[in-house]
């Protein structure tokens, strides 16, 4: 086993507990107060990062990079916490991370950044990321990055990878709560992660210090990267009508509630 060079693509999204509202900005659709919203690492990209760190820890001569496209000020905030979870080298592109940018343009920027990583051996490359973002939700960016890098073995909805020789076995989510099990002869490959099989690692301040010492310069020198949605015409962006008239049933015997529910279920 010669080791894997694992590049994780992952950016930031608004904290899922925030209320989000679309608005038409000077450069197109965005979120109201987008730059003020607290951000977190995109959840599925987070799982990809933790799985990458675990894989690298278990396969000698492996290394992890995190490539992130987002506003660098917000990335810096988020990385203060993410850096405590796992060791990685950070590559930052300073640009928009919102949902109304185009997967293709994002992929182009990410592929260019990956091509420019010093010491990256593409014959050992495992390209990790979330199987979809919590912003655009395109489930397309990783595939396009893979195509741009010439990688034709790709897996999506991954929950588990098991190294085998120079290759690996992988479990992908498919319909009906089942998994597709495949083996891949070796790198390079693309793996878009679902939740994986590992819990979120606890914070490790020592790893955090080491990460931030080497990664702060990467954030500071992040190149400005233009990403938009050329060719896309958003006719409208709307919030769904959410409020329902909720009928409250209380102080009612369980038997009566059950009967009403069963009538509804059978109805």
């Amino acid at each position: 086993m010669s080791g894997f060079h694992i590049v994780v693509c992952g950016s930031i999204v608004p904290d899922p507990l925030q209320t989000l509202e679309p608005m038409q900005g000077p450069t197109g659709w965005a979120l109201k107060n987008e730059m003020m919203l607290p951000a977190v690492l995109d959840p599925w990209a987070g799982h990809a990062l933790y799985e990458a760190a675990n894989l690298a820890a278990n396969v000698p001569n492996s290394k992890v990079w995190l490539v992130s496209l987002g506003p660098k000020a917000k990335l810096q905030q988020v990385m203060m916490s993410v850096a405590q979870k796992a060791p990685f080298d950070l590559v930052v592109l300073d640009g928009p991370a919102g949902g109304f940018t185009e997967a293709f343009e994002t992929a182009q920027a990410l592929a260019g950044a990956i091509e420019g990583i010093d010491g990256l051996d593409k014959s050992k490359l495992l390209l990790f990321g979330g199987w979809q973002s919590a912003s655009r939700g395109a489930s397309a960016t990783l595939q396009i990055v893979g195509e741009l890098l010439g990688i034709t073995d790709q897996f999506q909805g991954v929950d588990k990878i098991t190294p085998e020789g120079d290759g690996f076995t992988v479990l992908e989510r498919i319909e009906g709560g089942a998994y597709l099990e495949s083996s891949c002869a070796g790198a390079p490959a693309v793996l878009g992660w679902a939740t994986g099989s590992l819990p979120e690692p606890p914070n490790n301040p020592q790893i955090g210090m080491q990460n931030m010492q080497k990664n702060m310069p990467a954030i500071q020198r992040a190149p400005a990267t233009a990403v938009a949605a050329e060719g896309v015409d958003f006719k409208s962006v709307e919030l769904p009508k959410q409020v329902r008239e909720t009928r409250i049933v209380k102080d009612t015997p369980a038997q009566d509630i059950a009967k009403e529910l069963v009538d509804w279920i059978r109805g």
């Binding site: 073995d153 769904p240 909720t246 509630i257 509804w264």
Partner: protein, 339 residues
């Protein structure tokens, strides 16, 4: 004028899935709205059965990439097949079901064909001759109506959003298209729970969502996880419902707490879970708000049972909130369903 291609793959038994027939219904309808014809492109080991089953769909041409290499779900072969079909049909607009197989491969195929992909589209319309697609952003919190200029434009259609095509079978002439089958990936098989252990049923009428409250201390000061398991599995069995869970309940396992033994991340609905589509949804012991609403976006009728009348998830989100002990209610529900 658009040149429309409906693209699908066969299932293991050679048929087309319900999701595939929904996409065919959408393709036929859109072609009619555009005043255009459409072609069919099929991928599979042997597509004869599938092509015949939809022989009366009105397609002008049928194309297929077939053979043993294309009978299995695999990015490299599926992407090569899709590109070959797009090119054979000279398609400018491609509609396909968002099955796991095509969701994985079509974005790459669009890229390779020089086009763009938009995924998980939930509605289609024609406005002034242009196709307008509806898709959701920020985990189903908002939606856009959008169109794009790049071609070919590959669109995958979410399950449960379009009426499935129904019509006469036939025996269309299918033009064979060749595609590169080179790959480093070997499909070993499908790992699926046995039928009696299956709790995720995408085609079920009802989604039953279990929240973390099932594992909390009850009125007697004790937890009753075993009782909760029995009640939930009993209900799923009798109602033939699909099971979902909140993230907090799934995560309890990673925190060392006693959890429902049959739950995994695959059951999770919401922010980092699925957004299933079912006609009815019954939530029990759930107390989150926005993340649960996200998971329930496409549930038509929603009812909830929990002890908190002011539950932020239920208020304004559910049609009916029963303020009651879910253990007691579900015990009675199971008795009535079994009688």
């Amino acid at each position: 004028m658009e040149t429309l291609l409906y693209l699908a793959h066969t299932e293991a038994d050679g048929s087309l899935s319900k999701t595939a027939l929904e996409a065919l219904g959408a393709a036929a309808s859109l072609a009619s709205d555009l005043g255009a014809g459409f072609s069919v492109g099929l991928i599979g080991e042997d597509v004869t059965q599938a092509a015949n089953a939809i022989g009366g769909c009105g397609a002008e041409k049928f194309f297929a990439v077939s053979g043993p290499d294309f009978g299995q779900s695999r990015y490299s072969t599926d992407t090569a097949a899709a590109v070959a079909l797009i090119q054979a049909a000279s398609a400018t607009l491609v509609l396909a079901p968002a099955t796991s197989r095509l969701a994985r491969s079509l974005p790459g195929a669009a890229q390779r064909a020089g086009g763009r992909a938009d995924t998980q589209v939930t509605a289609l319309a024609v406005d002034s001759g242009s196709v307008v697609a509806t898709r959701w952003y920020y985990r189903q919190r908002m939606f856009s109506n959008m169109t794009r200029s790049q071609r070919p434009w590959v669109i995958t259609l979410s399950p449960g959003c379009f009426p499935a095509w129904e019509g006469e079978a036939g025996s269309p002439s299918v033009e064979a298209v060749s595609a590169d089958a080179a790959t480093n990936t070997t499909v070993k098989g499908v790992l699926a729970p046995s039928a009696d252990e299956q709790t995720i049923r995408p085609d079920a009428e009802m989604l039953f969502v279990a929240g973390a409250g099932w594992t909390k201390k009850q009125a007697d000061g004790q937890t009753n996880v075993g009782g909760a398991e029995k009640l939930i599995l009993g209900f799923l069995d009798q109602a033939k419902a699909s099971l979902g869970s909140s993230k907090s309940l799934v995560d309890l396992g990673g925190e060392g707490q006693e959890v429902l033994s049959f739950l995994s991340h695959l059951h999770q609905v919401g922010q980092t879970g699925s957004t299933p589509r079912h006609a009815k949804g019954l939530a029990t012991c759930c107390h989150g708000e926005e993340p649960h609403v996200v998971g329930w976006r496409f549930i038509t009728e929603r009812r909830a049972v929990n002890l908190d009348e002011g539950c932020g998830w239920a208020q304004g989100k559910a049609d009916v909130l029963y303020v009651a002990d879910a253990f007691e209610v579900m015990t009675k529900v199971n008795e009535l369903l079994g009688s």
